[in-house]
Symmetry: C5
Subunit: 368 residues, 5 copies
């Protein structure tokens, strides 16, 4: 079990080293095991909507000049040169590109001369928590997204763009960026729902039968919630600063939507805190459940011992081999002693019942 | 029991998903199981007071122009089109209307061009905690309230309006909005009183007999208090910002009343914190009660065992079948041994009594 | 015992409902069980000092105009009309008067056009903690105090006024208000001293013999300290804001005194925190004391059992009735077996002594 | 032991009442048990350095006018009139002088018209923690210090002054005040070192043998650290405000030194926090040590009982007196039964060894 | 073991006294056991790069005037005069130099007239945590570093300088200082990785077999993490203030790099907090593991006792020596009693199995 837990922990806790130790800052290195890079472009505006794949970054240069909104969607971070060239086309800062390739960033929103650099994390729950880092650049008329692996919660967005009637289609790049953030954040709710179910299951199991495994399960859940919280807090702060930042990149039309987005993030944190408290509660219930069981086992032991030890003593007294023990010679001696033993046994049972140590449940073997 | 607890938890913890995943923001969708929508209007001012039901939102348009104060009270959120049309008449923002229909908002106060949007939660205690979301729009001469289900604490308000002499009747829409908030907040006190009783009962029960069920009961209460706290904190902050916000919507006459309202919210939070501490205390009392019982059971076991084991040993010594055991042949051997046993037993009892392990209570079967 | 504790709790935790539910704000209702109202007036200044009782509020109107300082001291809140009329004479706000009558306010300092409204709590310790709410209005030349029941810590103030030489006599109404606050706050120190003694007693008792009652006692004390803290925190904040507020009501002469008063409040909070930590410590000591006792009981049980069970086994072996058991026939068999038993018993005692399970204390029945 | 602890607590926790209840503020009352007052003066500057005792405060008046720096060092607070007269000479505020005599002040720095009033606490460790309050007035050309008892950490300062070359001698009164504060704060380090040793000792003792006394010892240390922390936090804040305050009393030359002093205070708080955490750790170690011992005792009991109870049962079966028990008549019956018993005993031992309940340590009596 | 732990603690907790008590501030004293001082200089710029050792501080004076960037790298703090002379050449403040020699500083960044004084800590993990203090002065065209012992994470920097193409070479002294800070901070990641492994190992060990030693190990780790946290918090604050400080010393080119550096520090603190939580989790797992074992031991004891005690009682009844015991005379009496005993034994086993006290695991000796 320890093995499995260690694996889960690894899945949740980021690897620690950002890049190879001693590498100069701003060096671009594809993360280990990265998928190969493919680039899809969606270009929309008054002239309609176009979708196509890009094989060479230089194809992007003419698109920058168009009045339409440009969404460059990069999948897989395996090709560091390709990414470097995209950076050159849009004038992205080296440190930002390094952060795109380094997959253990905190959520953040940084402003560089003419564009925002935003890092958020999309989550999913498939047997265990899956976290994907989404890096996003927002310029005056473009949005560039970098996904190490495909993030599914962005699919409905493309559909809405293609319908050409949705608010996204009718607004600028800032609204597209908001819509992406909103999709990512709304993706937290089903995951939290999942944790809600896990906690409820765990509670039923623990009350029914507390095992060390069930405790370990709670610790896993709390750990993953801790990890989610670590992701959400900086995201909330970043959204807050984005909402307050007044640059030309965010139109006043989009601002109430960002406020709404920030509101959702706050609600997610609220839920996370509640789940963490519920997890802590489970631990209390577990411990008190175990100590109740110890108490119960002790009571059984004490009752049995307390009843039979005096009786055995009486029996062993009359098992002594003294020549002169008058009772032994009596005809009815044996039966009198049996009667006395019976009386003592019943009296003790009565005493325990009065003290509340014996309840009907104790005789019901199904009750554990 | 686990089932019942899970149900309570569900009642308290909000469902997690705001709307169907992938839905564009601002989409209006009636919440599942919503009641059908009915709209009542109260219109009062110098010209007197009128009350009537509205079947079509267009009937509201002429009322907007009147100099009187207009209270549009919407019950049931089942008819999303109706609500959309009300929004159109009063120029309400799509995101605000979406929040009206999404029943798991945090308390908040948002300002849109010419109106406030306020979300608060009314609470009631019927077997378990019942939370209802109340959405409120406050414009220069109107107040619109949306209640998913009838909130009873607003009834006295209507009565006071009908009397035509109350401060509400004589003031503008801001005072009406304050009065609604005040009624909702004052509705927390009886609920807290109820929790006070529950905690006192739980304490008596736990001290009398600590069972795992009683612990589970404490956890339920603490969970519901946690949930109330989650509702109250943002409400307090929102009231604070409303009190400080200086727009034309709130007259200086109403401001001291809002301060009073904020004061009540702070007092409720104070009480919640005290109850939560009392709940935590109960847990300590429970645990120490259980560990005292283990101690007590152990003492009984130890006393019985310690007294009879040496005695049994003596008896079994004289039960040995050696040919040559001089004591066995003595006439008075048996009685001397019985005497020695009696002496040892009394000596041990005396020792335990001196150590404080034996008290009068131990002989009183009623004492558990 | 549970009963008694519940009562104490009720004494400490405020009743929850401010006024009857559904009552309009600003309604004056005497609190249940209020004493009948009597009003005493002290009027002092260059023209000397006058003291008299007031039967009708209208008698106060001419006093307002005088250049002297006026202290209206209202005892008992049973007569709501009387209080309403006093409010009218001095132009006090309805909400403030409502708060005077509602006995579960937080400490606060509010400024209304030309007067301060201050709520503080005087404490006393008579068997249990007694909290009295003192409401105070400070105007340019008057101070009005409302005491539900007589607050004894104000008595020395009147004495000092009558001496005509004290700083109070020589300064204005602001210094009188400060002196009242100072007297109330200094009244916390003897109460804290009392709690210090209670905690020291409890510690001695717990170390001597931990009983569930002693734990319950600690919980009571912690609860009362919690309650005091709930009273002191807002008071400190209020004093801080009063000290910073620069209205004409507080002269620069009085300001250093208010700073001193704030300083005392901070010191009281410091002490409260220390006592709360000591209370928490006691709980730890209690729990470790109980678990030490369990350990000790276990050791006694284990030593007795471990020594006698092997011996009894040997005895029972030689109690078997086999026809052919050569040892039984030996002349010295019995004595050899007794010797072996003695050796085993001593060897085990030695082993336990070496492990540190047996100490001199275990043989001292006075040591529990 | 309880007695001793109560004494320590009293040494650490301040008496609670500042002055006799009901005394007007600003009244000067010597603290109970105060030493008689003696005043030493050091006067230094371009004209050299003079040291002499002062018997009458009026002797100080001409010194105030001199261009040199004047250090009035008051020992013992027994003579309240003397102190009052010093206050009159230098124009010190009554409230400040009251605080000088009241020995349970928090550290603070207050500014009065033309001088600072500073309260700090010097600490020393002699068997138990000793705290002395040092009150200091800093004027443009004088420093007045009040020490209830001689504070030894100021001795090196006088030595440095007498050498006439040290920075103190060459700078003004502000640098003298800084030097005094610095000496007091640096005096915390040896005390903390002492606590470090105490904690290390306690840890070794607890791991070796956890006794209730060792736990009580930890509680004492934690209590004293709590008390130190209560002293240091306000001191740090006061130093911070002094460093930021820009009055003419502190020259820009002295400012970096004050920053350094503040730095030291922060480092002391850091160490205090670490020690408090170590103290809490010790408590955990203690508790887990006790519960390990219970576990160990239980295992011994269980092993012994589990081995001998079945064996005793077998023996008692063959001790039954039935007429017809074929085994009893067999020649080798006794030896077969002994063999079976031996086998069962060894098998159980093997089982326990396999489960890890028996280790080499269990046979080593030195291991406890 | 206690010895070893005490040693580790000493390695982590700083010695407490900054300098000998009573020493005037600004006195330079080499720390005890300091290495002898050697000074290496790297001087680079348009004119190329030069590296040489310096034997006399006066050799540095001409270098200050050159337009190139000067990196004075001081190893070993044993020669206080040498260091004093370097301070004189560059005009460094006495207090800063004192802090260089006092090895228990908090991380800090202080601004003196024309240079920054920065203290950071480099960490390494060799069996235990190793912390080295790095002091750094940043002037307009120079950087001076003081290392008590060689800090290895600076080696790659020199390599990068020698390549003459790296950003360091092409920028000024501010970028050099940034690069040093960055190298130091990035050195935390491998150490944290190490702690991650230690915690994972500890978890596996505890779940497998909880021993007091493993708990002590967790305490050591938590203590070292506490110590790292104590180092990182002030560093993060210092970096934040450096990033915000706008003096001429930091060019706008370097600012985004400092932001990146601050970002890394925040990420390290995040990881530290997670590890501390994981450490706390381990403690919970340990305690619940121990209490589970107690429970398990108790169950074995109870089952064995409960089964055999009634059987032994029956056997001892028929071991009594009454003359008249009819069962004893029956031919089949013995076998009937054996049968009854067998039935009782099996019935009890069945009862325990139904209650869930007996599982397959209990019969598997490998399962502990």
């Amino acid at each position: 079990m320890a093995k499995r837990r260690a694996k889960r922990a690894t899945a949740v806790i980021p690897a620690h080293r950002p890049v190879e130790f001693g590498t100069p800052p701003g060096t671009l290195l594809a993360p280990p095991g990265a998928l190969s890079t493919t680039v899809g472009v969606i270009c929309y505006g008054e002239a309609g909507i176009e979708e196509f794949a890009v094989a060479d970054p230089s194809e992007l240069t003419p698109l920058r000049e168009k009045p339409s909104v440009l969404w460059v969607d990069v999948h897989g971070l395996g090709d560091e040169d390709f990414i470097k060239q995209i950076g050159d086309v849009f004038g992205l800062h080296d440190l930002a590109l390094e952060d795109v390739l380094n997959l253990h960033q905190r959520a953040k929103i940084e402003y560089y001369d003419d564009h925002y650099f935003i890092v958020v994390h999309a989550v999913d729950y498939k047997e265990t928590l899956v976290v994907e880092q989404l890096s996003l650049f927002l310029g005056s008329n473009y949005v560039i997204t970098f996904q190490p692996r495909k993030i599914h919660c962005l699919d409905p967005l493309r559909e809405r763009l293609r319908k050409r009637k949705d608010k996204i289609y009718l607004n600028g790049s800032d609204f597209l960026a908001y819509s992406i953030l909103d999709a990512v954040i709304d993706g937290y709710f089903p995951v939290l729902e999942k944790y809600g179910e896990i906690i409820e299951d765990a509670e039923e199991r623990i009350v029914a039968k507390p095992t060390p495994e069930s405790l370990a399960g709670i610790h896993d859940v709390r750990r993953e919630l801790l990890s989610l919280r670590r992701i959400m807090w900086p995201l909330r702060d970043a959204l807050n600063s984005l909402y307050r930042d007044e640059t030309n990149l965010i139109t006043s039309e989009t601002l109430p939507y960002l406020r709404d987005c920030h509101d959702h993030a706050v609600r997610i944190i609220d839920l996370l805190e509640i789940y963490r408290e519920l997890g802590a509660d489970l631990q209390d219930i577990y411990l008190s459940s175990v100590s109740n069981r110890i108490n119960e086992v002790m009571k059984v032991l004490t009752i049995i011992t307390t009843i039979f030890i005096p009786l055995s003593f009486i029996a062993s007294v009359y098992g002594m081999n003294f020549d002169h023990m008058p009772e032994l010679r009596k005809e009815s001696g044996y039966f009198i002693v049996l009667g006395v033993m019976g009386f003592i046994g019943l009296a003790l049972l009565f005493y325990f019942w009065k003290r509340g140590w014996l309840t009907k449940d104790d005789f019901d073997p199904k009750n554990h």
